[in-house]
Amino acid sequence: MKKLCVTLMLVMLAVTTLFAAGAKEDASKKDVTLSVLWFNDGNESEVFLKTMDDYLKANPNITLDLQIVAYNEYDQKLKLMISGGNPPDLARITTNTLSVVVDSLEPIDNHVQDIEAVKKQYLPSMVAFASNKDGKFVAYPTEATANGMLVNKTAFNNAGIDVDEVSKTWTWGEWETIIKKVLAANPKMKYGLAVDFTPHRFSTIMYQWGGHFLNADQSSINFNNPGTIETLKWFKHVHDAALLPKSVWLGSENPAELFQAGLVAGHIGGSWNINTYNKNVKDFEWKAVRMPKGLINSSVPGGKFVASFKGSKNQAEAFKFMAAFADKTHNEIYSRDTFNIPSRNDAVVTYPSNSEDFKVFLEELKVTPAFTADEWKNTNLSKVTTYIREQIVEVLLGNITAEQAAANVDTKGAPYFK
């Protein structure tokens, strides 16, 4: 009897194990939950889900586990996930993040037949950003971004200035004269321009004045150059002259909020602000205009991407999903509904409004020197940007000179380039 019981139990155990194993194998073939790490500038997560709704309906075995993280904490969270051996299946990443995690990204080359054909579909600057040091394509570009200037057109009109006309050729010197007239004509407006509290946005003006972060072959830091020092001095001058609000760079107040409140006449920010202002600004007319010229005209190219990681659990499905998200149809829908510049060469996007504003940002991109993209994809530069920001603030506070700040940055950054 005892033997019989033991035999029966063993048989039951074997059968149960077999069924369990079979079920597991079956599930792995069918149901896949893709873990997606995401951040929002505006409404991107909502549009992303809407855009991919048809794909998810056509592939009912795929579900998304979308984790939205605040941008401030995004890099740290992603880095910890990667270093902990638990990367998401796919993640939305910026050019900054891309430069940091590039070695952990799974190359698309390993998952498509003709990688050159894939690359040809995207804007050259996007391909440059998404290529690692071995030339492998590691992320699908989803949107192109650029820095540009958005102005309160009503304020310029009040001063009798046709901002469309003057901005076609204006220099920073002319901008200063014009903006003083604008401020005089608009008593409630306090400042001429707000520039986002990031070295990325500062570099827009720095490039216009002929400055740079790195030397020509990107092998060492070279912030200490005449163009950069000139920009630092100019930046301090316009802050001291109260043309720029100190509360942004000294108190990290949000420049977009200042612009929307009608306190500043212009804002140098990213192209995604078109989306924000389109929704929020109702009290005055605004538009994108060409930025004033320093020595040259320049913007800073950037972009957003989706990528999968070495060690992601559902890589095959993640790559199929990303390829679909980055195809022409989905890219056009996503770009249109998020008010972003499409990353594809063949995308034709008709925005519900603000098409002219996007054109201005595209024009800025066209005249931007190519080295600016190379600088911002440099992994080592990303390690010094916070220090650069602090040194710029030290100059604004008058604690150090522009020359000292530039020299300090070079000293701090040099070890990263050894």
Binding site: I82, G251, A261, V393, E394
Partner: protein, 296 residues
């Protein structure tokens, strides 16, 4: 013999067994990471780069690092004012609200305690709306009434004052509750006796309340000191350590070096230095308190 060994077991092993879960948690989440941190401080490594042993190089760099010492002095200033003012303020609140005799006492206790329940990020965001230079409520009201805005968060001195003020506002309620518990534990007979002897209220306070509240005050001081040395969220949200380095504390610098500059080894060396500083201050506080008790 048997009962003797049983007694030993009850006196030594049994308490240890009861403490075991806590010891395990403490060991896993505090001791092991601390040892790991110490080990990391002798290395050079980033999240994506291999570990390289470099001996004391990180500590040598730390000694010459101007930004570290700036954040160190900021931390001392912040801690000194936050801790001392928290102690005075929370003691004042506790003295006002511990008797259970006044009308509305419980309501006020709750009102003062509520901020300590909020996350520091929430507190920081709320106070940014209040103290912001251009968009802040206080400056808006000042300008509406014909005055000038105050640079609460963009002046190098005022920004530290603002941070200290908000920290005290956010934490004092918690320490008030601790001190109320301490005050209520003082036997009322002592106060009655002092009243019969004709002692004035200040004398009662200095010769009865303070001596008997000393151990509670020490707990408050140690907890507040440790919290002030580890302050991160509030400052990150309110000033990002600025303007410049004006409100940047060691913890912000550790975060920047570890996660933005990707220098985990050097950040670990900073953390070890911070840990030693906190340990030193805590020991000093215990030592001073111990000496005073010896005198008594």
């Amino acid at each position: 013999m048997k009962s003797h060994s049983k007694g030993n077991f009850h006196q030594t092993a049994a308490p240890l067994l009861f403490l075991l879960p806590n010891i395990l948690i403490f060991g896993t989440f505090i001791i092991i990471p601390a040892i790991q941190g110490l080990r990391m401080s002798f290395t050079e490594w980033g999240v994506f780069t291999p570990v390289r042993f470099i001996g004391l190089d990180n500590f040598k760099e730390l000694i010459a690092d101007e930004v570290f010492w700036k954040t160190f002095s900021n931390t001392l200033v912040y801690s000194f004012f936050t801790v001392s003012l928290i102690m005075v303020y929370s003691l004042a609140l506790a003295l006002l609200l511990y008797r259970n005799t006044l009308k509305g006492e419980k309501l006020f206790r709750s009102l003062f305690y509520i901020p300590s329940l909020l996350s520091m990020i929430t507190v920081g965001i709320a106070w940014r709306f209040i103290l912001g230079d251009e968009m802040g409520i206080i400056n808006y009201l000042l300008r509406q009434s014909g005055g000038e805005g105050v640079r609460w968060l963009t002046d190098t001195t005022l920004s530290m004052v603002s941070i200290i003020g908000v920290s005290i506002w956010a934490q004092a309620g918690y320490y008030m509750v601790v001190l109320i518990a301490g005050l209520q534990a003082i036997p009322t007979e002592l106060y009655e006796a002092s009243r019969i002897d004709g002692a004035s209220p200040p004398k009662t306070f200095f010769f009865i309340t303070m001596p008997l509240l000393k151990s509670t005050l020490l707990v408050v001081m140690v907890l507040a000191t440790i919290a002030s040395f580890k302050a991160y969220e509030l400052i990150s949200v309110m000033t990002k350590g600025g303007p410049g380095y004006a409100t940047k504390l060691i913890v912000q610098q550790v975060y920047q070096v570890a996660f933005l500059e990707d220098r985990m080894g050097y950040a670990s060396a900073m953390s070890i230095a911070l840990m030693l500083i906190i340990a030193l201050f805590t020991l000093l506080q215990f030592k001073l308190n111990g000496k005073e008790q010896d005198h008594e």
